[in-house]
């Protein structure tokens, strides 16, 4: 499955947020979107998810325009993994993941045994079956993120959009989540995620998109896109890109050059 965005533009009232955004991505890819706060990352995601209407340009999935798809059709193609915030109502993990089965069912159907099985399959896949009957609000941030991923997988769409999946996670959980994400991409999903950590893009992305001044200024493989010059362009901070030899081979890292 192929996601193509051509000449996308969007304005809130008179304020232009996106213009001439172009990129395309395939399944089996982990695509990282980088950009400073307010660059329009969330707006781009909301356009692709169909949460914002009135955009210019086209969003195509396998060549078919998404603009006129119903919410349900769209939910079968793209799923959304929001940041794992505290919910208003404390649903259990099982109930939360079960919600993902909604687009699979006819309008007035409620989930039955088939849907329950599907939920346990995906919980198993992510290794969180033991959390099934716990309250979602009582979990740690990393566990919550996994639950939301499970919910998106249940939805059975090939494209997953993740809004800063590593925000608010501790150091270890950030890498655990990113490894899971990378693995899912390998299993045939197209994962489009935003991140504030260029090293995550460097380590896990197959494709990097850089959003700046309302459009994508560069895209390509992390090696081609992410140099120290680019980081300075995006974040306004000077860094050096170093390759460090480790037990598992050479690993690229950014080292900030701070005033001493």
């Amino acid at each position: 499955m192929k996601l193509t965005v051509t000449d996308l533009g969007f304005s809130y009232k008179n304020q232009e947020t996106l213009k001439h955004v172009n990129f395309s991505a395939d399944t089996r890819q982990c695509v990282c979107l980088l950009g400073e706060n307010g660059a329009g990352k969330t707006t781009l995601f909301r356009c692709i998810l169909g949460l914002l209407g009135g955009y210019q340009g086209q969003i195509l999935i396998d060549g078919a325009d998404c603009r006129h798809k119903s919410v349900k059709e769209r939910a079968r193609l793209i799923s959304y993994i929001p940041q794992a915030n505290l919910p208003t109502f404390n649903y259990t993990v099982f109930q939360t993941v079960l919600m993902g089965t909604n687009p699979l069912m006819d309008t007035f159907h409620t989930p039955g045994n088939k849907e329950r099985k599907l939920v346990y399959e995906k919980l198993e896949l992510l290794g969180i079956t033991h959390l099934a009957q716990r309250g979602y609000a009582n979990l740690s941030g990393g566990e919550r993120q996994l639950v939301l991923i499970a919910r998106a997988l249940v939805q059975d769409s090939d494209i997953l959009i993740m809004d800063e999946p590593t925000a608010n996670l501790d150091y270890g959980n950030q890498f655990r989540i990113m490894e899971k994400v990378k693995k899912l991409a390998g299993q045939g999903y197209l994962i489009l995620l935003s991140t504030h950590n260029p090293e995550h893009a460097l380590l896990f992305a197959d494709q990097v998109l850089v959003l700046k001044e309302h459009s994508i200024i560069k895209s390509g493989s992390p090696k081609d896109v992410l140099g120290s010059k680019m980081i300075q362009d995006i974040y306004g901070i000077k860094v050096e890109l170093k390759n460090i030899s480790t037990e598992s081979g050479m690993v690229p890292v950014f080292v900030p050059c701070l005033d001493r």
Partner: protein, 339 residues
């Protein structure tokens, strides 16, 4: 208790169903004119099977003419307000929201006060209350559509403003009402009471209330997704614009119809959904029917108190809080973590 929360919820639901039936039958026996359980069952059974009448007239009068309307009204209004409250809380993702959040109650109160001031009959009071209640919500809703970024918050804010507008209107009517006869009538009506409900009113109000409850019941699975949040619900294939209109319309229909026959009975719509969540969790598939049963049972119990406690009937709107608030506080103290 063994099993998953899902299974436990179903047991609780069954239990609530049994409790509801017991309260329902018991309520016929309670009151100033006591009817023994034996007599009661004998009469009810006789009526059901069409057996020849062998009981005194006054028992039949008490059971069917005096008690039945208010028991049915209590069950209907309790279930209606509780389900409307549960629906609003989910839609607005705010557990502090109650059926009157969009101004339905304030609007209905104004409509009723105005009709009483003009000396209209009881039927017209109900109709005007209903119309003004709906009008308040429609105005609040139309204003909220102008709020593009966060339509839900817009709706709550508009509702609060419309409510206060109608409340001041009601206060003004009370100010100019004749303190010797009209004012007490208005005040008493606003306190909420189901003691003087007539069968004809009940018949008229049960159609919108039952219809609204049916709509909410059909939507109960999707309400889970709605309660998670606008963006997430839409990304999981829920048409939020449609859901918002349907839930608001159904819940408003219910609350306006309730207010129009019983006056302002606060509290039930706010707190019964919480009791229900504590008992069976948040899944609307079980939580919504649970709210209906608990609301119905609760209001019937309170109405029993209303007619038993003092020689003069106490308006049920006063008692709901007297009976419910201490119980709710107890629950917060005991199980604060699960709220």
């Amino acid at each position: 208790m063994a099993g998953t929360p899902e299974k436990r919820g179903k047991w609780f639901l069954l239990l609530a169903g049994i409790l509801f039936s017991v309260i329902f039958v018991m309520s016929f026996a309670l009151g100033k004119y006591p009817v023994s359980p034996g007599e009661l069952i004998h009469v009810l059974w006789g009526k059901l099977t069409g057996a020849p009448k062998d009981w005194p007239d006054d028992i039949e009068l008490v059971i069917f003419k005096i008690r039945m309307p208010r028991i049915l009204a209590g069950a209907l209004i309790g279930a209606g307000l509780a389900s409307a409250g549960a629906a609003y809380q989910g839609l607005f993702r705010n557990p502090m929201v109650s059926p009157d959040v969009l101004g339905a109650s304030a609007g209905a109160g104004f409509g009723a006060a105005l009709s009483l001031l003009l000396g209209l009959g009881f039927a017209m009071v109900s109709i005007n209350a209903f119309i003004c209640g709906l009008l308040a919500v429609i105005v609040a809703y139309l204003i909220s559509t102008k709020v593009k970024q966060n339509p839900t918050l817009g709706m709550v804010l508009a509702g609060i403003m419309i409510s206060s507008l109608f409340s001041s209107g009601t206060s003004y009517i009370k100010l100019i009402a004749d303190p010797n006869n009209t004012l007490p009538l208005i005040t008493y009506w606003l306190m909420g009471s189901i003691s003087s409900i007539r069968v004809s009113e009940l018949k008229a109000a049960c159609i919108p209330i039952l219809f609204g409850m049916l709509v909410l019941f059909i939507m109960r699975w999707k309400m889970n997704l709605v309660a998670v949040g606008e963006d997430e619900a839409r990304s999981m294939g829920v048409n939020m614009n449609f859901m918002r209109v349907v839930i608001v319309a159904a819940a408003t229909l219910i609350s306006s119809a309730c207010v129009s026959i019983s006056g302002m009975i606060g509290w039930v719509g706010l707190v019964i959904p919480h009791f229900s969540r504590m008992a069976v969790g948040n899944d609307y598939r079980i939580m919504l029917p649970m709210s209906m049963l608990m609301g119905a049972g609760f209001l019937m119990v309170v109405d029993n108190f209303a007619r038993l406690i003092a020689t003069q009937e106490i308006p049920i709107g006063i008692l709901t809080a007297f009976v419910g608030a201490p119980f709710f506080l107890y629950l917060i103290l005991k199980r604060g973590d699960t709220i």
